[in-house]
Amino acid sequence: MDKLQSLLKNEEKAVFALRSLYGKYGYLPYKMSKFEEYDLYVRNKDFLVSDSVITFNDTNGRLLALKPDVTLSIVKNYVEEPGVTQKLFYNENVYRVSARTHTYKEIMQTGLECIGDIDLYDIYEVVNLSLESLGEIGGDFVLDISHLGVLSALLDETGGDESFKKKIMHCISEKNRHEIARICEENAIDSESAGMLVDFVSVYGTPGTVIETLRKMCINETMKEAVDELESICGLLKNSRYSDKINLDFSIVNDMNYYNGIVFKGFINGIPESILSGGQYDKLMKKMGKKARAIGFAVYLDLLEQTGAKKQTDVDTLVLYSEETDLLKLSRFITEKASKGESVSAQRKIPQKLRYKTLIDFDKEENAQC
């Protein structure tokens, strides 16, 4: 079994580890068809990471799309059941335009969604599972948690309009203090609120210290509620074996038209992008006409391809034979090597690009033995 394990690529190992993890916590697998009606994505374009979708006509003329996202399909198919939460996980390929290369990419994504009458425990559980997921993948990792309620309370207090809020959110995601000061000045925001927004950018670190700072910044009831919720969740997460990996950081900003409450992103040292991303998306549920709340996250397993030890050789042994070789002897020799767990390539000539550890000239070996 260990030998087989070593054959798996990093991302494949992660798929198995995460399947088993989510199963243990009662999340049920959810298998979807590869296609979805294009209409679903047109109506929720802003929710998608990239707005280009691969479309095609079905045999009956309906316009279908190769899934660019899984969450929307799960929400669409959610059936209300008061007081109950539906817990699902998936492992699917999604098709998106990569922002870096401007070409379509197939991205392997695993994730889970918790939909229904969710309460504090559900939120804690999902965040905890995201920590556990990062732990399963391994390496040095960090989970950044933010609460959009805190941010939106601060923004509401300034009295600025939507475009102002959008610009400020962008600056906060960039930790760009000088730009916030400039935009506030341009929009005639009072210096006290402006100062608060600028200070807010520097609020990040371990939950304990950050919550203490936030308490002092509380300006209204909504902000207090959000901080309370953040504190309760961080309190519950103290039991996690990975509690030291948690950071509070408000530069984690998701679209407020869809997300609210807790949002989070996971990072692994050595991978230059976030590998895990999630949050609470009650507003999306509402937009899609569902009377329920929801939280979930996705893990971008394709990023793992960049990690792990790179292979240096193709095969352990290269066995050279010729037209004169006794094929029966050769076949025995090869089978014996393979059954010992070595990889062998039988060739008549050394292939130019093949990398091997040892070279055996079968005829010579045979003659030497004779």
Binding site: S98, T101, K311, Q312, T313
Partner: protein
């Protein structure tokens, strides 16, 4: 009057010498000043220097009737022009290069850094290889050293830069040299003049061989 776009730099100067030899000299071009356009009314030619990668654009859009551009640029931008003559100069190769001991794990997506996105994409598409392309604008050689990419696709002339950085050519995609190109419409209206130049340059190329 024939507008001729020449690539700035050593290659352009050599090319101008060929035009001069062909009887289309323009003495003012050798004056050391800041002028951009040089004209010889008597011979009916007007030269201008542009960035090598822009020659094809000037010619394609008709701002220049003819010009000289590297095959690398022509393959990268695929301009709609006539390629009249291989000038057999500025010879080099478009190559895939990587660390000397690079091992190509075909089980993974290959990260390719290059200035020539189109050439690299087409080359790997022809091999059906999944690649992650990284567009850079210069100092391409540093990419595999820092692990930004697995390999690079770039022009190799002597290979000295590669060698000095412990890199090596892994694959040659195509040979590159300078080409005489013409705007398709200009060619129809100024056929004789353009043909005369092409022919004269062609004889020089043959004699040089």
């Amino acid at each position: 009057m024939l507008n001729i776009a020449l690539p700035k730099g050593r290659l352009g100067e050599k090319v101008y010498a060929m035009f001069e030899k062909a009887g289309y000299e323009c003495p003012s071009i050798k004056e050391n000043n800041r002028k951009l356009i040089f004209e010889n009314e008597e011979k009916g030619v007007r030269y201008f220097w542009v960035k090598p990668s822009d020659v094809a654009i000037y010619v394609e859009r008709g701002a220049a009737d003819i010009g000289v551009a590297g095959k690398d640029i022509l393959c990268e931008y695929e301009p709609d022009i006539y390629e009249l003559l291989d000038l057999n100069m500025g010879k080099c190769r478009m190559c895939v290069a990587g660390k000397k001991d690079f091992y190509d794990d075909t089980d993974r997506t290959l990260k390719v850094a290059t200035k020539f996105v189109n050439i690299a994409s087409k080359y790997y598409a022809s091999l059906s290889r999944d690649i992650d392309i990284i567009k850079l604008n210069g100092s391409i050689e540093i990419a595999p050293i820092l692990g930004l990419s697995d390999v690079i696709v770039d022009i190799v002339e002597t290979g000295t830069t590669l060698k000095e950085n412990d890199l090596a050519v892994l694959e040659t995609i195509m040979p590159i040299s300078a080409r005489l190109i013409a705007n398709k419409v200009s060619f129809k209206f100024k056929t004789e003049e353009i043909e005369r130049i092409a022919e004269s340059l062609g004889t020089q190329v043959k004699n040089n061989d």
